[in-house]
């Protein structure tokens, strides 16, 4: 069981262990400003997933962007980022120096804007794989591709020929049957799927006002853990390609459950906010874990 926390591979990418970060929940560049070189020396993730990059720079949503709920967080960050050019110029070289494989998360409104983004990012040798964010509930992009199998398939048909690098499709949990979307992505050549993204939620106050500047957002954290387990196990049972599992991981036992449910790799998201080294703790707990058959684990 302790090998659970040992080396693994994801779409041919060798990883020292199965714990990576969830997109948008750990900014390695900002973390270096706060913590200095300690971030490099004790980097907790076996691969680094960037925050989602869009073709043009985005300022993000108006504040407030955060709402704490029982055992969860609702966010409506709105994908602030420097845009493709800014990312390639200033961030990519720094991220390439982290010493772990780099997965770049990308998103665009529509296949025609997605294509050059994927092409340019994939062309960079620093990039090991791309994650296609087709699910973010915070960006009002009209159609949400990840909610329809056919839309997802169409996007993949457009993007797949552009690169030989692994394409990981990040699924939205806000659908009746995520396995259908995953199967569509797999059919059109996706190398892996990742899930779950945040669940649509809206903190509304007793006077009817919306707390978040953007009105609605997405729920993450322990509150969504069993929802993630259900979706990951359904998707993993349906597809042959590897699954990156995430959603509410706080402890080694949570990671073990996602792995047991069929994930190849587990991502830590919201937990990093409370403890920047949460992922390192998850990994070491995972390594120590001795599952009691049929029992709740003690980490």
């Amino acid at each position: 069981m302790s090998t659970l926390a040992g080396p693994t591979t994801l779409c041919g990418i060798e990883l020292a262990h199965p714990i990576i970060n969830a997109s948008g929940t750990f900014d390695a560049i900002a973390a270096r400003r706060a913590f200095g070189d300690g971030v490099l020396e004790r980097f907790p993730f076996s691969a680094y997933v960037s925050k989602t990059i869009t073709p043009e720079p985005r300022a993000g949503n108006p504040p407030p962007r955060l709402w704490e709920e029982a055992a969860g967080l609702v966010n409506s960050i709105g994908l602030p980022n420097k845009g493709l050019a800014g990312f390639l110029e200033s961030d990519l070289p720094v991220l390439a120096a982290l010493g772990v494989p780099l997965i770049v998360s990308v998103m665009a409104t529509g296949a025609e804007r997605f294509a050059p983004l994927v092409e340019e990012v994939a062309a960079r040798s620093e990039v090991a794989a791309l994650e296609l964010n087709v699910s973010c509930p915070n960006v009002h992009s009209g159609l949400i591709v990840g909610e329809e199998p056919e839309e997802t398939a169409a996007l993949m048909r457009r993007l797949r020929p552009l690169t030989a690098k692994p394409l990981i499709v990040k699924l939205t949990p806000n659908v009746a049957d995520p396995a259908q979307i995953a199967l569509a992505a797999e059919r059109e050549g996706a190398d892996a799927v990742s899930l779950i993204n945040t669940i649509k939620a809206a903190p509304i106050l007793a006077d009817g006002s919306h707390w978040l500047g953007a009105g609605a957002g997405g729920l993450s954290g322990p509150a969504v853990r069993t929802i993630a387990l259900r979706q990951v196990s359904e998707v993993a049972a349906a597809v042959q390609i590897p699954v990156v599992g995430m959603g509410g991981v706080e402890r080694g036992a949570d990671a073990a459950a996602l792995l047991a449910a069929g994930a190849t790799v587990v991502a830590v998201g919201t937990a990093s906010f409370r403890d920047p080294l949460a992922a390192a703790r998850v990994r070491s707990e995972l390594g120590r874990l001795v599952p009691v058959a049929g029992g709740r684990e003690q980490a």
Binding site: T25, A34, R42, R58, P63, L66, L73, P80, S272
Partner: protein, 291 residues
């Protein structure tokens, strides 16, 4: 939201990566607030204006509900002790997080990440003609000014402090200004000038040559905004220690957006919490300080 310049030549003290367990050594009432002190065995001494993300070691997050995320607090005092840095925080109990922290007793664990963020800049960096510093504080905003005043005194920089309180009940944190000269305003007139602390500031900047002034302010958003507008009008250099809702404190979540005068947002946790008053569009940050 363009990230700030790399290198950050702003005097910030870097935090050890990860969070660590400190031990609470004191928790005393101070007016309506509490002063909580903890020993941080392995962390560095913070710079004035920096903050920590705090959580109780027990009954916080994990399997629990709220409080779930850590909470941000400006460090109000830091002293070297044999066991490490003794850090003090001035805390107002306004919700589940501050409520849980307020009940911590000596010997209990306090999880801390920090020091974080951009500290105050020396007066001469803001105004080469600076004759000294004017500190303007209100409510729990006294905290970062208390440690800054000490740092200025240690460097021999003359400083004048103006503090505002709503009413007798809300007056707290005075202890942190022991042995220093302070002018006070209170909205109910129970102490000092009846009215706003910005009245005192306006008078001082009027009497003074505004050209040699540098203002450092921390307090409720409305007070900060009044300071910002006044300093802009009189062209006085000013730094504001601001607040915004924070989930992480180290630039990870992009939650702590503060609108920039130049458009877009900064992340207050890494580009602040101390900001140049001229850089922000407003000090009235949505979601902060609604207490």
């Amino acid at each position: 939201m363009p990230a700030a310049a790399s290198g950050d030549p702003d005097g910030r003290v870097l935090a050890p990566f990860g969070r660590r367990r400190g031990e609470v050594v004191a928790n005393e009432p101070s007016g309506r607030y509490r002063i909580i002190s903890a020993v941080d065995a392995s962390g560095p001494m913070p710079a004035a204006g920096q903050f920590y993300m705090l959580a109780a070691a027990e009954r916080w997050g994990g399997d629990g509900g709220r409080p779930f995320l850590p909470r941000a607090f400006s460090v109000a005092a830091a002293e070297r002790s044999d066991d490490g840095a003794r850090l003090s925080f001035l805390l107002e109990d306004v919700g589940p997080g501050t409520g849980r922290l307020a009940e911590l007793g000596a010997g209990e664990g306090l999880m801390l990440t920090g020091p974080l963020g951009r500290p105050f800049s020396p007066p001469r960096d803001l105004n080469p003609a600076a004759a000294g510093a004017i500190l303007v504080g209100g409510g729990v905003g006294l905290a970062p000014l208390a440690i800054w005043r000490r740092a200025l005194a240690a460097r021999g920089v003359p400083e004048r402090t103006l503090l505002g309180f709503r009413d007798r009940e809300h007056a707290g944190g005075h202890e942190l200004f022991r042995c220093s000269e302070v002018r006070v305003a209170s909205e109910d007139g129970h102490a000092g000038h009846r009215g706003y602390v910005t009245d005192l500031l306006e008078r001082m900047l009027g009497g003074d040559s505004a050209a040699t002034a540098v203002v450092y302010a921390c307090g409720p958003p409305a007070m900060l905004e009044a300071v910002r507008l006044l300093c802009a009008e009189l062209e006085v250099a000013a730094e504001l220690a601001m607040e915004a809702p924070m989930a992480c404190g180290f630039g990870a979540c992009f939650g702590c957006a503060v609108p920039l005068a130049a458009g877009g947002y900064m992340r207050l946790c890494v580009d602040g919490p101390v900001v140049n008053a001229a850089d922000v569009e407003t000090a009235l940050v949505a979601g902060a300080g609604r207490r």
